[in-house]
Point group: D2
Chain length 423, copies 4
Amino acid sequence: MTPSEILATSPLDLAPYEDLYRHFHAHPDLSKQEKATSETAAGHLARLDAFEIHTHIGGYGFVGILRNGPGKTVLLRADMDALPVQEVTGLPYASKTTQERGIGSGDVKPVMHACGHDMHITCLLAAAETLVRLRHAWSGTLLVLFQPDEERGEGAQAMVDDGLYGKHNIPVPDYAFGQHVMRLRAGTVGIRPGTIMAAADSMKIKLYGRGGHGSLPHQTVDPVLLAANVVTRLQGIVSREVNPSESAVVTVGSLHAGEAENVIPDEAELGIDFRSGNLETRQQILSAIERVVEAECVASGSPRKPLFTHTRRFPPTINDTSVTAKLAVSFHEHFKDHFDPDTPRTNVAEDFSTLATCQARPSAFWFFGGIDTAQWDEAVRTDSLDEIPGNHSARFAPAIQPTMRTGVDALCIAALTFLTGGE
Amino acid sequence: MTPSEILATSPLDLAPYEDLYRHFHAHPDLSKQEKATSETAAGHLARLDAFEIHTHIGGYGFVGILRNGPGKTVLLRADMDALPVQEVTGLPYASKTTQERGIGSGDVKPVMHACGHDMHITCLLAAAETLVRLRHAWSGTLLVLFQPDEERGEGAQAMVDDGLYGKHNIPVPDYAFGQHVMRLRAGTVGIRPGTIMAAADSMKIKLYGRGGHGSLPHQTVDPVLLAANVVTRLQGIVSREVNPSESAVVTVGSLHAGEAENVIPDEAELGIDFRSGNLETRQQILSAIERVVEAECVASGSPRKPLFTHTRRFPPTINDTSVTAKLAVSFHEHFKDHFDPDTPRTNVAEDFSTLATCQARPSAFWFFGGIDTAQWDEAVRTDSLDEIPGNHSARFAPAIQPTMRTGVDALCIAALTFLTGGE
Amino acid sequence: MTPSEILATSPLDLAPYEDLYRHFHAHPDLSKQEKATSETAAGHLARLDAFEIHTHIGGYGFVGILRNGPGKTVLLRADMDALPVQEVTGLPYASKTTQERGIGSGDVKPVMHACGHDMHITCLLAAAETLVRLRHAWSGTLLVLFQPDEERGEGAQAMVDDGLYGKHNIPVPDYAFGQHVMRLRAGTVGIRPGTIMAAADSMKIKLYGRGGHGSLPHQTVDPVLLAANVVTRLQGIVSREVNPSESAVVTVGSLHAGEAENVIPDEAELGIDFRSGNLETRQQILSAIERVVEAECVASGSPRKPLFTHTRRFPPTINDTSVTAKLAVSFHEHFKDHFDPDTPRTNVAEDFSTLATCQARPSAFWFFGGIDTAQWDEAVRTDSLDEIPGNHSARFAPAIQPTMRTGVDALCIAALTFLTGGE
Amino acid sequence: MTPSEILATSPLDLAPYEDLYRHFHAHPDLSKQEKATSETAAGHLARLDAFEIHTHIGGYGFVGILRNGPGKTVLLRADMDALPVQEVTGLPYASKTTQERGIGSGDVKPVMHACGHDMHITCLLAAAETLVRLRHAWSGTLLVLFQPDEERGEGAQAMVDDGLYGKHNIPVPDYAFGQHVMRLRAGTVGIRPGTIMAAADSMKIKLYGRGGHGSLPHQTVDPVLLAANVVTRLQGIVSREVNPSESAVVTVGSLHAGEAENVIPDEAELGIDFRSGNLETRQQILSAIERVVEAECVASGSPRKPLFTHTRRFPPTINDTSVTAKLAVSFHEHFKDHFDPDTPRTNVAEDFSTLATCQARPSAFWFFGGIDTAQWDEAVRTDSLDEIPGNHSARFAPAIQPTMRTGVDALCIAALTFLTGGE
């Protein structure tokens, strides 16, 4: 039997999971503070009475292990954290939660699952139950991993650094899979071989001048002009240096210097974010930024070397070609025309792949649609897709169905593809 | 008799004025809040029993009128306000004063006479007493004007707008004179025909983009790149457009845009200050700034016109050629080698000239040195003049003598030059 | 029978075509001067005694029509012109040809088939003979079109403008196909749905300043600074405005202004080339260039609007999805592992598609390898593929086989795919 | 007697010199080719039968020595070369001369005394005759120096390098004087202490990139973008680095890169000229240019260091303060209101001062007017001074009188000032 046929033998009633989803949606947790979410999810998993559960890995991360005979080890992953966004969806289960950003900080924020991780958690729990029910039909080891702190790109690495495959003794997966609900038509699934999501890096750069009175520029080194030259010069990285087919982006998102119109300040600070499709391009851009910034400081006669502070780093999400090809066959059989094997890559970033690359294991990641089908079709008709809110919007919330059914099925199909057959 | 000879007939004992100076130095007032300073000075002037005193002109400004027979009307001006600077001179009479910036604002600042206006007030009071004692030797009308709010460039205009020559009925001067203590050797006086101090203008400029995610620049209009291009483009005004002999300066003192590295913001704000030696150049620069900024907004596809907010404006201080030539003769006779008729013009600005230009009357302004002579000569010897603190420094305080004597004499000589002789 | 099976029934001896190829290689013609090449090729085609031949279409272009019963009309196209390059391949049949660029101009250039069009001609002639021999196995109309002046992007349009489908009465094809020999392993064929080659546009832009003495910049409008600002500003089109996934390129290839160091010139001239994957992006870039250049002229106070002169225009080469899918099936069957259905798109440009888009007909274009297989494999082994000369190099010449066999087969397979079956 | 009184004792008839001027005007010589001019002038000087004449110093330069008893040595200098300009004055004595630029070069140019050196030569010859006739009234040594190759800034240095004060044994002057006819009212003379004419430096800078196809920028280092960044970056030298009072200018007069729109070239060449008022500022600008250019090359990842070639160098013309003060007294007595002791400095350059600075001797240089008085006064009346052609214009020719009389008198007064009196 094919994975799709196996799955068809035991359809799961998702109604309880829809309630669970609404609960997660109404009770989001900020990154690194996913205590309640993690406990609820782990409690639910425990009630399946099939998984060996390891908690508190890299913060509130946890893993359930289902050992089901000889065979491959497959890891399915969901991420759990939410965003400091004030929800305005108007849904009956909209979040009213606020949380301190950093316990004890006094910096209280509204919190919202504006990125759909609540859907990811729920789908993975429902897939776990499904695969428990289908355990006679497959053989091997299933890992369900619930990751904290994806939004800031640190949770996957934190789990690895905390001994995920070391002191916690989680079996190293042969294949790792993850998924993300996106601004696509609900019911659809898309994947592509190679890079599907970009690497993302953020940094702050402090540039040093020498301040003085605005009427006496010759006694100063003007950091405002230096910063302006850096910004214009950085455009050349994407326009001239990176292969045009790489879809790279270098953004200066913030620039701050000086207080008064007539005082030349001592320094300027840039905030830079860049996207790259693979590690070679990432390194190329990083080197180019450093080269440009350092040379511009020399051009200005800056009295000190610039200070680079890396503030965030996401790896590229690169789907293994062979694994993706096999998934494509299964997904195509199951989702038919609702499956796109060549979904466009995005410059949005994820840290999922770290869970596999840290052990040099192949992985794949796919998108599934979250937009109500009637809403989507009407937007297509009126050429207004751009007006549908996307991830991170205060108005983003997936239609529960067929979104959830699709997400559960995709996880099950992926696991079954690699846990059946003699391979 | 020449002015210098007249002055020699009645030397004033300055000891009480040295005490008065120390009092003013220890009790500075911020701009627009010169109540105590104004009352002390006006009270002192009243005790001379010679001046008709008009107070509360344009805030705490006041004028004393000494009508002394037929002849010309000469205005002598001192400015009264201090700066939000924490004094670190260590002087026994150093300021410990703090003041709210804006009564009731809660924004409490340390206050210091870091620009030497305390010396200006004291010199003018002593000159007033001297000229009262010498009233037999001259004929005409003497005006002593104490101006508020010079630092923000609004006091002279405020006095004019408040009816200085209107409802307050102060006689329009035939000649107006002002002076400033500077980082020059104490005992010296310098003047020059034409522009001696630049015009200064400050403005804020808001540039509009359209924000979005840092990985999706094509959905945005990037105001950071726009701002950077404006800054680099503005350099061309001084380097290419203004006559090189004009000594113009255009400074972008502040630049602010964005909060996060990975979010392209909606707007950017520049703070600009520029200096020009005359009104034609001022207008040329102003037009060029507007032309460049507006064109760069078009180049970026900015969705809205930029917003210009003028925050400060000082006129150029242009010494009347004929008046200055006459002053030069008198000053040279009195100060001998300590007088420089060709002192370099400075890009620092003053609003004094408004008191004369508003009535199309000629005026002149000079500098007098405030640096202790021994300290100065040692600095010359060791080529370390640059290390002597200048105006606005927290370490700037003139040596009381011969600074004060020079400032008093210069005011008296100027008045006598135009109040004697049959002209 | 499949196209590949049909083709196998009548293998053509290519030895005479190898000689013909060497002849074409040794006797290249510059663009618009392909008289000898055209006559040789048309003569060869005539000797097949099957085609109705129409010559002198859009210059030296010609078309052969083989009417072979009811069915679809398929156009196969080869381009004929060579480049002003001094060949340094050292081949026994290397070109020693020189030609005047523009008859009577006196501007004599060495000429070389450095782009492989000699191979295109020969393959198309051999394919014509093959399809004549296989005429019993297919039904419909075959057009073989030999186009002049591809290098300057004007030949296809010239043929259309000269009445290709009008006064010359060539049947409008249902499908049009073209191919290009590339720096790929000989024996391989690659295609992709959608954009396979970029649109390319070239233009000159004259920027107007106002000249003067280098020491008196304020009396001038400096076109050198203007040009520099245009160049730096144009970088933002690719770095910020175009979707990063579009692989767009904007290049300023030339910039000329001024003669003497100390004279500010009156004007500057830029030469710009840009690449885009579709007509929307092309228009976006074109508009952005105009917007940026015009705004920068305003920013400089330029006395005249810039002058844009379009010097070259290639359309994008966009493979019809459905046609390409059918080709992919046939090519895969025939070339097996030597066929790549997802060959990377290139920013190099072609004018082939005009022959189809002018009539709103679908078309497809593919690449076939020209690099000797042993050389290629060695270069892969030593990671030195970059050192193999590519198209337009003075050292570029395809290995005759299996290059030619592959090119002939690809053309035949394509034609047979759409001239067999009842469709 | 004062110099002016001495001069009045022996008025010279200038009619023959007016003829001589017309001869020189009609027969100009290009720089380094002043053979005929030099011979004519030296022949004329010889006929005075008073000067010891040394010819062929630094090319066609020559010096006449008049030893006239004990006292100071005064050098008066005229420059002799003309410009490659086609005269369009329409004067009866307009130049119709053409000359090869570089004998044997075949590069034939029209030649014109468009800078007024013909007037300089004639005035100096007439002054020489006058001073011979007045030899009883002064004592000391008079040097009249006729310099070649001023336009390219090499003649004064060439005379020095050729042993002017060495093997040619010309006495080292105590004072050196020169003058230039300018676009000022004829009859007027202007001087100023300190810098009267700027230093001028010219250079070519080659910037290295790595060329390639315009559609493949990532395989190149784009020298056009590099050059553009250098040009925009260089603006900061004047706008931010040099003291605004220095009147410095940095001009990029030429910029050349690339031939084709779609080919990224290998290199770019800039032509730069800069002006500075003294040697410190000159060095500051030179260092800043090198710093900026080298750093921008690094910022671009340029494969080679930039190549700087200095093409021209004029020193600043700095009038000795004490000498100028003495001249001012004499000039004021003689020229009355037609003398301006504070004439504006100009950014035009001269190499005269080298003749004095090479021996650390004081010098002074002044301007005298060449514009017909009626024409000037009318232009003042109609506010159209800008339309009067200036030096280097094809329409520039001084009114012969009172220009010549003024120039002769100024030279004589200067010499007499320092050759009379017991100093």
